[in-house]
């Protein structure tokens, strides 16, 4: 068998890597040489897609990247396996996603820890716990906010974050652009995001702390775009609560002001987004459910939980961290504050210091 080497053969990475094997005795494995020839003779450069196709408009702004990433998940069906890892631990789940232009549906089955199936349609979410035969039904306001968030004049994101395009990598078999979103101050964390090249779908996301340390990573270990996910099936699953004790936690929307709280000084970049309390029936044993006051700078969220101080349950100030989420708990007058957020501890301390009673 002979091959005439075409003139415009591009030696790609795999061929370069095998070239060093040529000196080894091929007498025992003559087929290896033939295979190499087949490779080289092919009019094929599998890495062609990697040569940068410059966008018509130049590099994207941080808002443009975020919009693209958001839109991607709204327009494609996919399924895969998601792995969340932080430090020494890892959790995984199976994901299905489908949309039909108006409706977005998702199903998430945990593969580790307690078995849970979560199904979402737009901002309605039901979580099944087969081990206790309990289900929780909720409407999640946070899911409907974006992209209005980006369009508001008070959109703080470009003021506090810069963007840097850092090449291309493969994730779960798909080529992805690596986008770094870098904080402009020390009050927030950065992100490294892998966005699938063609669609912009986020396939991997790292939250970065000081010196670029990876605090948490969320990544598809396995992904199939345009998978045949059936919206009809998901809808049926969502409605099938037979045998389950269905709970509908009710939030009472309110304002911090109405509850008697304010920040004497805002924390740069963070705007108040919502505030709610819970019905007393849902309160943990021995207490009133804390008020939750949520702030965001567009990318990072902070929740301030405030409840009356209870010496039985509340002790000393503490600052803890798990993954990318930090927490600061301390006493504020006759109350106890727990601040949680994917921000540095110092930022949470600023919230804690700024929180005061308004009346």
């Amino acid at each position: 068998m002979t091959f005439a080497l075409p003139l415009r053969v591009a030696l790609t990475a795999p061929v370069r890597s095998v070239a060093r094997w040529l000196p080894t005795p091929t007498a025992r494995q003559p087929w290896r040489a033939a295979a190499l020839m087949a490779l080289v003779a092919g009019f094929w450069t599998p890495l062609q897609a990697q040569t940068a196709t410059p966008t018509a408009t130049g590099p994207r702004s941080v808002n443009e990247w975020l919009m693209r990433m958001h839109e991607a998940s709204r327009q494609r069906a996919y399924m895969g396996t998601l792995v969340v890892s932080s430090g020494a631990s890892m959790s995984a789940s199976r994901i299905w996603h489908v949309c039909d232009g108006e409706q977005q549906m998702e199903r998430v089955d945990t593969l580790t820890g307690a078995p849970r199936t979560t199904i979402r349609r737009n901002n309605e979410v039901i979580t099944f716990a087969p081990d206790s035969k309990t289900a929780w039904v909720e409407k999640r306001e946070s899911l409907g906010l974006f992209p209005e968030l980006l369009r508001t004049p008070s959109n703080a994101i470009p003021e506090f974050y810069g963007v840097n395009e850092a090449g291309t990598e493969r994730v779960a078999g798909y080529l992805a652009d690596v986008v770094e979103i870098q904080p402009k101050d020390t009050l927030r964390f950065g992100f490294r995001i892998w966005a699938e090249k063609k669609t912009g779908l986020v396939v991997k996301l790292q939250t970065l702390g000081e010196q670029g340390a990876v605090l948490e990573q969320v990544a598809f270990s396995e992904l199939q775009l345009d998978a045949p996910v059936s919206m009809g099936k998901l809808t049926r699953l969502m409605k099938d609560t037979k045998g389950y004790d269905v709970q509908r936690p009710v939030l009472k929307k309110t304002t911090a002001e109405a509850e008697g709280w304010r920040l004497k000084e805002p924390v740069p970049g963070f705007l108040p987004m919502s505030c709610h309390t819970r019905e007393v029936a849902d309160a943990p044993a021995g207490g009133v459910a804390p008020m939750q006051w949520v702030f965001s700078d567009g990318l990072a969220s902070v929740s301030l939980f405030v409840e009356p101080f209870d010496p039985q349950r509340h002790g000393q100030e503490k600052a803890l961290v798990t993954g990318a989420t930090h927490s600061v708990s301390r006493r504020v007058g006759a109350y106890w504050l727990t601040a949680l957020g994917e921000v540095p501890t110092a930022t949470l301390r600023r919230f804690a210091n700024a929180l005061e009673r308004a009346r």
């Binding site: 795999p14 095998v18 080894t24 290896r32 295979a35 490779l39 094929w44 270990s221």
Partner: protein, 213 residues
């Protein structure tokens, strides 16, 4: 020390999938990982420790530790790299414990000369681990010969497909492009190649077992 698997193509994603399946409760998936890496791990440990039985022991211990720590394995690192480190640490720990008895230690610990100097060369030229029993060495040689003979006897397109996959480390996608055929055909050819080779070595593999699965 880094894994010296220069000859191996980048590990495929099936390792991560098998880890996830294991964490989901399918212990069979872990068995498959063990079967895949048993010989490589034993060979690695065999470079540090002389005694055949001890090598096996440490190899088993390695997989046990890996199983217990599986939840800590990050999906994006190579599984074999992680396993490799566990193997080395397990072997070192074992050797340190034995250090208390200098006689045993001396006889167990391989000298630096025995070790890594021309490891990649040795890999290319030899399929054999130093601590293998003569029977195992012979059996390995026989099986290697049978594989080569089976490869020679394969139809060209099957041999091409399996070579590009196993030796050159190309994905099905890349092979399909190189050979200008559908991916389904690539999968099928590689499968048929494996079946053909497998049928030749199966009696030899079974012979070494004596008992059944």
């Amino acid at each position: 020390m880094t894994p010296e698997d220069h000859t191996a193509p980048p590990p495929p994603d099936s390792d991560v999938m098998l880890v996830q399946r294991t964490l989901a409760g399918e212990s069979r998936a872990f068995d498959m990982l063990v079967i895949k890496y048993q010989r490589r791990v034993e060979r690695l440990i065999g470079r540090m420790v002389r005694d055949t039985d001890l090598v096996q022991d440490i190899a088993q211990e390695t997989f046990i530790r890996a199983y217990r720590a599986l939840a800590q394995f990050r999906g994006d690192a190579q599984f074999y790299t992680w396993l490799y480190r566990i193997a080395v640490n397990t072997a070192k720990k074992q050797l340190m414990e034995m250090k208390r008895d200098p006689l045993i230690f001396q006889s167990q610990m391989k000298s630096a000369d025995d070790d890594e100097t021309s490891s990649s060369e040795r890999e290319l030229n030899s399929n054999v681990a130093d601590t293998e029993t003569p029977e195992a060495v012979l059996a390995s040689k026989e099986i290697a010969q049978a594989v080569n003979a089976a490869m020679d006897a394969l139809p060209e397109e099957l041999r091409m497909a399996i070579t590009l996959r196993e030796v050159e480390g190309l994905s099905y996608d890349a092979i399909a492009q190189a050979l200008d055929c559908p991916i389904g055909t690539v999968r099928s050819r590689i499968f048929r190649a494996r079946e053909a080779i497998s049928s030749r070595i199966k009696p030899m593999l079974e012979r070494q077992t004596g008992k059944r699965w």
